[in-house]
């Protein structure tokens, strides 16, 4: 059990269950969200998506369809040009395509960073950071600079940094895209494990259909630009998921189905 003394609702958060959305509260809602960039590019059009607390939703779509833009809008990094987004941004986790570790800070300092910005006390920072480092399997690397870590380890440190704030909504912008397949599958399993343990709500952007199906309780297929939601697939497999699921016939069939609709999306 992960207890988080900094949040008043520590007991609640640690008891959040990953139940595929049985809990009815909406954690993140897009209502008719549109995005037009100043150069006139229409990136998103009329996106309506309600994500329930405890759901893990993946978004796949052709490159350049506005998946990342959707995430940036959800997190508040950029404002949408139309529609509304409802989410509690005080307790938000976000991982980028790169690990975005500060190269002049050691692993421990990087994991402490967000807590530092939030004004946690040094002792508290140290303790929580150590917990997260142990959790993502980086024990023993606390005093390593990022340049001495592998790509997978950097991503683990990046996850630990976000986890330290015990986010209730966690957004992932193609976090494992740059990793090799073996590392990627391992990190998928580790992230599912974290999701089951901590029970956050997940919004996951990826290029990989198997990754999306494997990780998620729901997969969204977006159209090519301007991005709209084409199809929503409920993923029926129970959490926690075992690596064998990847070779399951039903799993492959579902991946195939999503693959076909993604191809239709690309061809318009």
């Amino acid at each position: 059990m992960e207890h988080h003394p900094a949040t008043l609702s520590a007991q609640d958060t640690s008891n959040r269950k990953a139940d595929g959305g049985a809990n009815q509260a909406i954690a993140l809602a897009f209502d008719r969200v549109g995005m037009q960039f100043p150069d006139g590019t229409l990136a998103l059009e009329d996106v309506t998506l309600h994500i329930k607390q405890g759901e893990f939703v993946s978004v796949v779509g052709p490159s350049g369809c506005g998946k990342s833009t959707l995430l940036k809008i959800a997190s508040g990094l950029i404002p949408q040009t139309s529609g509304t987004v409802t989410v509690d941004r005080n307790n938000l986790g976000y991982t980028f395509q790169d690990a975005t570790l500060l190269p002049w800070r050691k692993v421990l300092g990087n994991v402490e960073l967000l807590m530092e910005l939030r004004g946690y006390s040094p002792e508290e920072r140290r303790r929580i950071a150590q917990e997260q480092i142990d959790l993502v399997g980086l024990s023993g690397f606390e005093n390593h600079y990022p340049k001495r870590l592998s790509g997978g380890m950097k991503m683990r440190a990046s996850l630990a940094r976000s986890l330290a704030l015990n986010p209730s909504v966690f957004m992932f912008d193609e976090p494992f895209g740059a990793l090799d397949e073996i590392t990627r599958e391992r990190l998928n399993d580790e992230l599912i494990d974290l999701y089951v343990r901590k029970g956050f709500t997940g919004l996951f952007i990826t290029h990989s259909i198997p990754e999306a199906v494997y990780m998620s309780s729901k997969v969204i297929v977006m159209s090519r630009r301007p991005g709209r939601i084409l199809k929503v697939y409920d993923i029926p497999f129970d959490f926690p998921r075992s690596p064998e699921l990847r070779y399951d016939a039903a799993f492959s069939a579902l991946c195939g189905e999503i693959s076909v609709s993604l191809r239709q999306a690309i061809e318009g």
């Binding site: 790169d98 975005t100 500060l102 340049k147």
Partner: protein
């Protein structure tokens, strides 16, 4: 047929060529090449000297003459010491003005685009003014004291600092900035914890350029200010007037040593601060 064999027999050579391995070889490879090149330069000097006409030999003193007329004399050493102190104090005072001022301009140009547009072309123009051409003007305006020389050094060492600092600040990782933005971090926090450390290696590249210019600037400034007890630049002019070319060479050597020392200090400081984490640093893997 022979062509094919030659192609397959060729060993791929990476660019740049790999460094030799082994501690002893590494040591030799590090120390020997600069000594060999220095020796070649000395040979070149000796060769030119041997071809010089008799009445022009004073222009290039031999090692013996240097020793007899300069480096064996304690009063020359004393003069070199006191004049080096003057030169270095001018150089460092100039840097003490140009470094904070340069950093400040780099910073405000990063913060306010309108100031970047306003300042940057003018900083380039300022750099384009030939230094020697405005020294007479500086003399007329400010006299012959310490201050005008310091200002000349400051002007000569200023340019590289805002340029490299601005480049460093603009190269800060977008993702890292977003990370701070997501936590609603203030501009000042983002600057201290993200932009400044990120820009520091680039800034130090600029500091090294400026540092190597500082002593040169101090000596150039002294060449035009001969009143009072000056530094090495004044010694160079005085030795020429007194026809003591060995002492002039001694002053030249001393100023080179000073210049290189200031450069090495900033290199060492940069390496000390960044080698552990920066990609350019020595410790790999």
């Amino acid at each position: 047929m022979t062509n094919t064999t030659r192609m397959t027999g060729q060993i791929y050579q990476p660019v740049p060529l790999p460094r030799p391995q082994g501690p002893l070889t590494r040591m030799i490879v590090k120390v020997l090449p600069p000594l060999v090149v220095a020796a070649l330069l000395l040979f070149l000097y000796a060769w030119i000297r041997s071809n010089l006409e008799q009445h022009r030999l004073f222009l290039m003193p031999s090692a013996f003459e240097l020793w007899d007329n300069a480096f064996s004399k304690s009063d020359v050493w004393a003069e070199l010491g006191s004049r080096s102190a003057v030169t270095i104090s001018i150089a460092l005072s100039g840097l003490a003005i140009s470094i904070p001022l340069g950093m400040l301009t780099g910073l405000v140009m990063y913060r306010y685009y309108i100031l970047e547009r306003g300042l940057l072309p003018n900083i380039v123009a300022l750099q384009a003014i030939p230094m020697l051409a405005i020294i007479p003007l500086i003399q007329t305006a400010l006299g012959f004291g310490f201050l005008p020389k310091v200002l000349i050094v400051a002007k000569m060492t200023y340019f590289a600092i805002p340029m490299t600092f601005l480049l460093g600040l603009k190269s800060v990782d977008r993702g890292a900035l977003d990370l701070f933005k997501l936590q609603n971090a203030s501009w000042r926090t983002t600057l201290w914890k993200c932009a400044l450390p990120s820009a520091a290696p680039a800034l130090f590249a600029g500091l090294r350029i400026s540092a190597s210019m500082a002593v040169v600037g101090a000596i150039v400034s002294e060449l035009f200010f001969l009143a009072g007890k000056g530094g090495l630049g004044q010694m160079i002019i005085n030795s020429k007037i007194d026809f003591k070319y060995e002492q002039m060479y001694a002053a030249l050597i001393a100023s080179t040593v000073l210049s290189v020392s200031v450069y090495l200090f900033f290199s060492w400081l940069g390496n000390y601060l960044f080698s552990e984490w920066h990609e350019s640093g020595g410790k790999q893997g």
